[in-house]
Amino acid sequence: MKFRTKEDYIVDTVNYILLGIVAIVTIYPFWYVFVLSFNDGYDALVKGIYFWPRKFVLDNYIAFFTDGRWLSAFGVSVVRTVIGGVCTTLFTCMVAYAHSRPNLMFRRFYSLLLIFCMYFSGGLIPFYVTLRSYNLLNKFWVYIIPGLLSYFFVIVARSFFSELPPELMEAAKIDGASDLGIFFRVVLPVSTPLLATMLLFQAVNHWNSWVDSAYYVRDESLRTLSYRMMEVINKSNISDAMAQSSSAMAQMAEANRTTSFSLQCASLVVCIIPILCVYPFLQKHFVQGMMIGAVKG
């Protein structure tokens, strides 16, 4: 039996208003970027554009789609995101599941090793050299393999797995299943909110990561979309060392006269749209958990 109290009304109203503000505040800047990307670069410098492009042009986008490099970058990013997202999620869950079992021998050791690795690192150069010695540089797999284990998500997934009712696993054990079987046939299927979350985070991570594309890859055909985006965005970024030289600044000012900001916005939009297309599919899965409650009522 459900009825709404006065408190319900108040809470609901306040909640809806606050959520509305959240929505506006988060959507408007993105809308602004979107609008600017369709606006002429020079005109964008003049005040007054709020909700709609003033001088609508497609030039900023034509720049991308006529450049073959963007197409290959898009392909690389898609493949990387799918493969990387799935592999990392699976690998990380396997490790986290093991860590979550209280009867695991050497559990303390595994935990401490994880924390240690999370916080200490040798830095960029040793990592590069290590990858080089494993022969991973300039190959597609350099995007996937070094990212297989997400330390952060081991911790998150471990908490999640440790809160699963132990009866589930015990019932399966009684039926004669091995730990391997339990993991794949019992644990994973009930962990959809976790898997959906991890898949989303890892996929987005892979989609957005450009640093590995910049440092570990030389082949132009292996570059990712986000790298191409950073190329465009960094065109108007000048380092401090360069800023000291006024000739350099003068040259840069002259060379960049097709203004950067609209172009940057366009490259950003190109990078975001695919994610926005995919997200609704994944959202279904953790909303599902919430829906169970509503249906049962």
Partner: protein, 539 residues
Amino acid sequence: MKTKSFLSLFAVAVLVLSLFAGCSGGGNTTSASTASGTAATGSSADQTKAPSSEAASANDGKIVDLTLFVDETWWSYNTWEGKIPQMVTEKTGVNIIPTVAVDENQLQLMVSSGDLPDMICSYRFDRLSDSALCYSYNELIDQYAPDFEVDPVTKYVNSTLHDGKFYVIKNDFASPQKWKDNPKALHQGPGISFRKDILEGLGNPEINSIEDLENVYDMVLAQYPGVVPIVAEGMDNSFRYMKVQLAVHSDNFYEDEAEQLKWRGRDPQLLEWYKLMNKWYHKGYWTADNLAFKNADQYKQVLMNGEAFSLMAYDNTADTVNTEMKAAGKDYYMVAKPEWLTDEATLFDYRIGWRGLFITRNCSNPEAAINFAKYAYSEEGQQFLLWGEEDVDWHYGDDGYPVFDTWEPSDKNSIMALGVRYWGWLTCDNIVNGMGQGVGYEQTFDVKRYLTDRTERKVYIGMANPAADSDESATLSRVNDLLKTEGVKVLLADNEDGVVTAYNNMITMAESMGLNDLEAWANSVYPQIKEGYFAITDE
């Protein structure tokens, strides 16, 4: 559940991909130029130093691929394409595969890991001038290109202090003798421009001195509320125009009366500049947020919204901004002012260039690389890369300056269609580039003319550069950073006394960072630098 997500992901990917495939008909693709190695002899200029046909035949007519890393993130060209690059490939037998830096760490990673490309174009002179990393030009010239003539002064200033060899020829430099021999070449520096409509509204007042300028600014403040009198470039180069008027040194060191090197922060004229700018700040001529501008767009925005009267930036900014304002539909017009405001106005140029072509030890074909460098640094090569093919893309006008026919400096599309100009910036020297810099613009020429007449050069000062990773180098970067951060406090002090106090405070802080040791080091190398310099010139 999971399979469904995968299928949907794939479906979306396929959909979007097919959309893109439809749109990208006939686009550029990166393609290595496959022109066969027949030496195409372009028209040769009078004083050519690069026998281009020899270079191509040296490679037996084969095209050599050389990777080039451009260490500047803002570089406009990502590929070596276009008519001009292809013709250069035919002339030199070298096809360039460029990579543009996405951030500053890429080069350091390459250096430390040893995975260097064939050539690097960078401003990190002190780091890359290392025999472990790069070939010195001395050895390459001796071995492969003995006819590569380098002006002795150029060779001298590019030589390192530690081994006397030169690993690069930095661009944007020419010896004082060359400047004397080429009086038409134009220098580059700061400039000021004013909004024409406001000037006319004020009755076109005379501006012949700093007092005149202040009067005009007062008038603007009174009659045009909402318009700030001065807007300027941000970061390090703010108000550099006024520094030139007050003869302030802007390079790392300068020579005082006792012929000792001092750090630029100690320049007494700098204090005068602080006092003047501080006075102007309190009068309302400029606002504090100007100091925070990070790129050109930000001052252009203020201009385009009609909220600024005068712009202090570079000699060509007036013209470039006018083009852009027209494109944005605004009819503001900036009038440049070439004449100086004071008698002592000087542009101090102690730099010895700032970016150049390094040939690394990893180079797969050093012979091809040095020959390419020989061409790129030759007068003919520079003209070709900067301006295009003679008598096709440009020709000499009656006044001795080039006239551009197939492209315009203010039209970036025409430049990029040819592949011209920006590649030339990598290796051009001041003389060749100086001839072409003022061309194609309306007002820039006059501004540059005045600038050049008042430029003082002491190139040997620029040679006092600490080695990479040395303590002096760390101190220099710290005190320069201090100048930026504390300098703001000096500029914005409450009154003139406050300026002096803050300034003295800044100097004390610099000294506690090791400034005195830095200057002692500089003065220890300075005498021998000067000696070596005067030995090869007759100044």
